[in-house]
C-alpha cells in the first residue's frame, strides 16, 4: 500500500473513529447525533475524494489485488452508514447503536481496503462481535444465539481456510483452505443450506443492524479476494449453482411472506446469492454484472429495510397480509420505496437493470440453465417487492397519525433513490471501474493453484 493509499485510509478512519471516541468520552444527546450525521457526510466526501483527484485512472496506488475495486466498495460502505444515520428513527437509535454502526462501517471499509487475509479475518470477526453485542437484551435472545452460532462457525472456517491458504502447506491444502473460505462466505451470505439464519435475524432481531451487517456482503468479498485464486473451477461452479438455487428459493419465499421483516430477510438472501453466483462464474460479464448488483442491491435493500423500520416506528409491526394504506400522507417515502424496489427488481433506468442484464447474459453464456434461473429469481423478486409496496402503502387513507417523514429521513431515502437512478441512467464510469476490477479478478483465478 502506497503513501496515497495510507493517507486515504487514515482519512477514512477518522470520521467513524471520532463517533466511537465521542461515545467513549461520554458525549450524549443531540450533540452526539449531530456529530454522527456530520461525520457520515465527511466520510462520504472522503470516500469519494479519489474521483476528482484523478487517482481513479491509476489504481495501482491502492496496492489492492483487485485494482480499483475499493474505490467503489469504500464509498458504498460510507453511503450505507450515511443512510443509516440519516433515516433511522431516533426512537430506534440510541448513542450506543450509533457508535456500533460507526464501528461496523469502519470494519467494512477496513475489509475492503486490506490485502491482508488475517486482517480480513479480524475485521470479519469484529463485525460479528459488534452485531452480537447490539442484541444483548433478552428480547433479542433468539436472534443473538442464531447469529452467534452461524457467524461463530463462519469465523472458525474463515480462519482455518486462511491458515491453510496462506501458510504455503501445498496446493492441495490451499484448495481445501479455499473450500473452507467459500463455506464461510456461504454461511455469511446465507447460501443454501446455511440460509435460515438471515430471515431469522431480520424477524427476531433488530432490522437496522441486520441490514447494516448484511448489505456490505463481506462474505462475497472474502470469496472473491481470498478463495477464488485457490479454488478449483469445479468448486467455484458448485458454489455458483448453490447460490443460484438460493437466489430462486429466497425470492420465492420472499414473495409469500406474511411479515415485512422476514420478507426483507429473504430478499437479502436472494440478492446476495445472486451476487455470489455471478462472482464465481467464469464469465467476465457475469462477474462485472455481479459487482454492479453488489452495490445496487446492497444500497436498495438497505434502503428498503430502513423504510420498513421507519414505518414500524410510526405504526408498529408491518404484516404483509393486509393493506396498511397511508400513501397520500407519505408520498415521498412511497416514491422512494418504489424506486428502491425497482432497483432491486432490475427495472430499466436503475442501476439494478445494468447489473441484472450483464449477470443474466454472463450466466447464459456459461450455462443457459443457470441464466434462466437468474431470470426466474429476478421475476419472483420483482413480484415480492411490489407486493410489499402494495401492502405497505396502499389501502385506506386514514392510516394513523404522524406519518410524514422528517427532513433527514426524506433526504436519506431521496439520496439513495437518486443515486440508483442516476447511476442507472449514466452507468459508464462505474462499469468501467468495475470492469477493470473484474479483469483483475479473472486474472487471479487459479493463480494459487499454479503455485508449486
Amino acid at each position: 500500500m502506497g503513501i496515497e493509499a495510507l493517507i486515504w485510509a487514515a482519512a477514512l478512519a477518522v470520521p467513524p473513529s471520532a463517533v466511537i471516541a465521542a461515545y467513549a468520552f461520554g458525549i450524549r444527546g443531540k450533540r452526539f447525533y449531530i456529530l454522527g450525521v456530520g461525520c457520515a457526510c465527511v466520510l462520504v466526501a472522503a470516500a469519494l475524494a479519489p474521483l476528482p483527484l484523478r487517482l481513479l485512472a491509476q489504481p495501482a496506488w491502492l496496492g489492492h489485488p483487485l485494482g480499483p475495486l475499493p474505490l467503489v466498495l469504500v464509498p458504498f460502505a460510507a453511503l450505507l452508514w450515511l443512510l443509516t444515520v440519516m433515516v433511522t428513527p431516533t426512537g430506534r437509535m440510541n448513542e450506543a447503536t450509533l457508535a456500533r454502526t460507526a464501528a461496523v462501517c469502519l470494519l467494512s471499509m477496513g475489509s475492503f481496503l486490506t490485502a491482508s487475509a488475517w486482517l480480513l479475518v479480524l475485521f470479519w470477526a469484529g463485525t460479528v462481535a459488534v452485531y452480537v453485542a447490539g442484541h444483548a437484551e433478552p428480547a433479542y435472545e433468539r436472534a443473538r444465539r442464531v447469529a452467534a452460532v452461524y457467524m461463530g462457525l463462519s469465523v472458525i472456517l474463515l480462519a482455518a481456510g486462511v491458515g491453510l491458504t496462506s501458510w504455503g502447506v501445498g496446493p492441495a491444502a490451499a484448495r481445501i483452505g479455499a473450500g473452507l473460505i467459500l463455506a464461510a462466505a456461504m454461511i455469511r451470505q446465507g447460501i443454501f443450506p446455511f440460509h435460515a439464519w438471515v430471515p431469522e435475524i431480520f424477524e427476531r432481531g433488530r432490522i437496522g443492524p441486520a441490514a447494516m451487517f448484511g448489505a456490505p456482503q463481506l462474505g462475497t468479498y472474502a470469496a472473491l479476494v481470498l478463495a477464488a485464486p485457490h479454488a478449483s473451477p469445479a468448486l467455484l461452479q458448485t458454489v455458483s449453482v448453490l447460490a443460484l438455487v438460493t437466489a430462486l428459493y429466497g425470492a420465492l419465499l420472499a414473495l409469500f411472506q406474511r411479515d415485512a421483516r422476514r420478507g426483507c430477510g429473504y430478499l437479502f438472501v436472494s440478492q446476495s446469492a445472486l451476487v455470489l453466483a455471478g462472482l464465481d462464474l467464469p464469465s467476465r460479464e457475469a462477474l462485472v454484472g455481479s459487482l454492479i448488483l453488489w452495490v445496487s442491491s446492497g444500497l436498495a435493500l438497505a434502503g428498503l429495510a430502513r423504510c420498513v423500520l421507519v414505518l414500524e416506528a410510526r405504526r408498529g409491526r408491518q404484516s404483509l397480509d393486509r393493506f396498511h394504506g397511508g400513501y397520500d400522507r407519505m408520498r415521498v417515502l412511497a416514491s422512494c420505496f418504489m424506486i428502491l424496489s425497482l432497483a432491486v427488481m432490475g427495472f430499466p433506468a436503475t442501476l439494478g437493470f445494468v447489473g441484472g442484464e450483464m449477470l443474466v447474459r454472463g450466466a447464459v453464456e456459461t450455462f443457459p440453465a443457470l441464466g434462466l434461473s437468474v431470470i426466474a429469481a429476478g421475476a419472483f423478486t420483482g413480484l415480492a417487492v411490489m407486493r410489499m409496496y402494495f401492502s405497505l402503502f396502499c389501502g385506506r387513507r386514514d392510516a394513523g397519525a404522524h406519518l410524514s417523514l422528517l427532513r433527514s429521513e426524506g433526504f436519506g431515502f431521496g439520496l439513495a433513490a437518486l443515486l440508483l437512478l442516476g447511476l442507472g441512467l449514466a452507468p459508464r464510469g462505474l462499469v468501467r471501474v468495475l470492469d477493470r476490477a473484474g479483469a483483475a479478478a479473472i486474472e487471479r483465478r487459479g493463480v494459487g493453484n499454479a503455485r508449486p
Binding site: V146, Q257, G325, V360, V364, G371, C394, G395
Partner: protein, 441 residues
C-alpha cells in the same frame, strides 16, 4: 444538417418531449409541491403534441430519404464496449405504430384531463400515462433487444400501477398485483429471449432479427424457434392470449381512460406488434408459427364466447378487443403482415372510441330507464342444458381464474409455507434454542 442528422434529431425529439413532460410533472409532486391541474394537463398535452409532431417529421424525413429501414445508434456502448446498444430502427412499421400510439395517448390525455378533474391521483395518473408513452415509443422504435425489453418493462409496470390506481380499495390493488404477475411472466420470457439471442448470435440487434436474411444467417432453425417461442410467450402475456387471459377483466379496475388506452387500444396490441416485427423469425419456424396461430385462434374463440355473457360494459369491450387480437395473431402467423397491421390500427381506434363513449352511453341509458320507469334490457335465459352450461362457462370466463388459483397459486403457497416452517425449525433446533422452539411449537 444532413438528412440523417435531421432524422436522428426528430427521433430524439419524440423521446425528449414526453420525458421532459414526465420530469416536469413528477419532480414537483415528489417534492410535495404538485403543479395545479391546469398546468400539469397543459404540460402533458404539449408533450404529447410535440412528440406527435416530431414523429410526423421523422416519417416525412424517412420517406424523403428513400423509405429504407434506418438504424440509429443513439448510445453505442452506453454501458461499456457496446455491450448494451441503444439502437432505434426507423421504418414504416415502427413509425406507423409509434404515431398511432402517441395519437391515441394524446386523445386519451385530453379526455382524462376532464374525466379525472379533482381526482386524488390526478398527477399520478398523468405520470404513469406519460411513462407508458415512453415505454410504447421504446417498443415501437426498438432497434436492439435491450431497448425492446426496457420499453416492455416500463409499459408493464405503468399498466399494473394504473390498474391499482384507486388504491384505497383492496380490489384494484389485488388486481394490479395479479396483472403484474402475468406481465412478469412475459418479461421473463422476453429477457430470456434477449439473453439467448446474444448468446447464439453474438448481437442483440433487432434490425438483424427483423430481416429474413439476417435472422437466417445469424440463427440456426432450432435457435430461431426457441427465441420465437419465447417472444410468442412474451407477446401472449402482454396481449392476454390464452392461457394468460385471466388478467384482462381484472385490469378493468383502473380508470376508464386508462382501460381504453391500455386494454382497448394499445397495450393489448403491443404483443401483436412485437410478433409482427418478429415475423421473419416466425417464418423460419413452422412450430412457432403453429403455436402463434393456435394460441390466437383459441383466444379468439374463447373471447368471442365470453364477450356474449359479460354483464358489465368494460369487460364486454375488453373481451371483444381480445377476440380481434386473437384473429390478428392468426393473420401474423399466416404471414399477412399488412392486413394484420391494418386490423390492429382499426381495432385500436374503434375500441378506444367505444371505451371512451361507454360512460356517456350508460348515463343516457340510465336517464332513459328513469324516464320509462323500467329496464330496457331484454335478456332471455338460454334454453337447453348445453346452452346453459355454455352460458355458465362464458359467464365465469372458462373458470380459468379459479383453475390457476387452485392448480398453481395454492400449491406453490403451501409448498413455500412448508419450506418457511422448515427454516424456522432449523434455527429453533440450534444449541440453546431447542427448548424455546419446543415451547413455541
Amino acid at each position: 444538417m444532413s438528412p440523417d442528422e435531421a432524422l436522428r434529431t426528430a427521433v430524439l425529439a419524440c423521446f425528449a418531449a414526453p420525458a421532459l413532460a414526465l420530469a416536469a410533472v413528477a419532480a414537483p409532486s415528489f417534492f410535495r409541491r404538485p403543479l395545479p391541474e391546469g398546468r400539469a394537463g397543459a404540460i402533458v398535452q404539449t408533450g404529447m403534441l410535440s412528440c406527435l409532431a416530431a414523429l410526423l417529421a421523422a416519417a416525412l424525413l424517412w420517406d424523403r430519404a428513400g423509405g429504407a429501414p434506418a438504424v440509429l445508434a443513439l448510445g453505442g456502448g452506453w454501458v461499456t464496449g457496446g455491450a448494451f446498444a441503444f439502437d432505434l430502427v426507423v421504418d414504416g412499421w415502427s413509425l406507423g405504430f409509434a404515431i398511432l400510439s402517441v395519437a391515441i395517448c394524446g386523445v386519451v390525455s385530453a379526455f382524462s384531463f376532464r374525466y379525472l378533474h379533482q381526482e386524488r391521483g390526478f398527477h399520478r395518473y398523468f405520470i404513469l400515462l406519460v411513462a407508458f408513452v415512453l415505454g410504447l415509443l421504446l417498443v415501437s422504435l426498438a432497434g436492439s433487444i435491450e431497448v425492446l425489453y426496457a420499453g416492455w418493462e416500463v409499459m408493464g409496470l405503468s399498466s399494473a400501477l394504473l390498474v391499482a390506481f384507486f388504491h384505497e380499495r383492496p380490489a384494484p390493488v389485488e388486481s394490479g398485483f395479479r396483472v403484474l404477475a402475468f406481465y412478469r411472466i412475459g418479461d421473463a420470457c422476453m429477457l430470456a429471449a434477449a439473453a439467448l439471442l446474444h448468446h447464439w448470435s453474438g448481437s442483440g440487434s433487432l434490425a438483424m432479427l427483423f430481416s429474413r436474411s439476417g435472422a437466417e444467417a445469424a440463427l440456426t432453425p432450432g435457435h430461431a424457434a426457441a427465441i420465437a417461442v419465447l417472444l410468442i410467450a412474451a407477446a401472449g402475456a402482454k396481449s392476454a392470449l390464452l392461457p394468460f387471459s385471466t388478467w384482462l377483466p381484472r385490469a378493468m379496475e383502473g380508470p376508464t381512460p386508462s382501460s381504453a388506452v391500455y386494454y382497448g387500444a394499445l397495450s393489448i396490441h403491443a404483443g401483436c406488434f412485437l410478433l409482427l416485427r418478429a415475423s421473419p423469425l416466425l417464418s423460419q419456424s413452422p412450430l412457432a408459427r403453429g403455436l402463434a396461430a393456435s394460441a390466437g385462434a383459441a383466444t379468439a374463440i374463447y373471447a368471442a364466447l365470453v364477450t356474449r355473457a359479460q354483464s358489465d360494459v368494460k369487460s364486454r369491450l375488453c373481451f371483444s378487443s381480445l377476440t380481434q387480437v386473437g384473429i390478428i395473431f392468426v393473420e401474423i402467423a399466416l404471414g399477412l403482415k399488412v392486413l394484420a397491421f391494418l386490423h390492429m390500427v382499426g381495432n385500436a381506434c374503434y375500441r378506444l372510441l367505444q371505451f371512451l363513449s361507454a360512460p356517456n352511453i350508460l348515463h343516457d341509458i340510465h336517464e332513459l330507464e328513469n324516464d320509462l320507469g323500467g329496464s330496457i334490457a331484454q335478456a332471455g335465459a338460454p334454453a337447453g342444458a348445453s346452452a346453459r352450461w355454455l352460458y355458465l362457462l362464458a359467464l365465469e370466463r372458462g373458470f380459468l381464474d379459479g383453475m390457476i388459483e387452485r392448480c398453481i397459486v395454492q400449491p406453490v403457497a403451501q409448498a413455500v409455507s412448508r419450506l418457511d416452517r422448515l427454516d424456522r425449525r432449523l434455527c429453533g433446533s440450534l444449541p440453546g434454542l431447542a427448548r424455546e422452539a419446543a415451547d413455541g411449537d
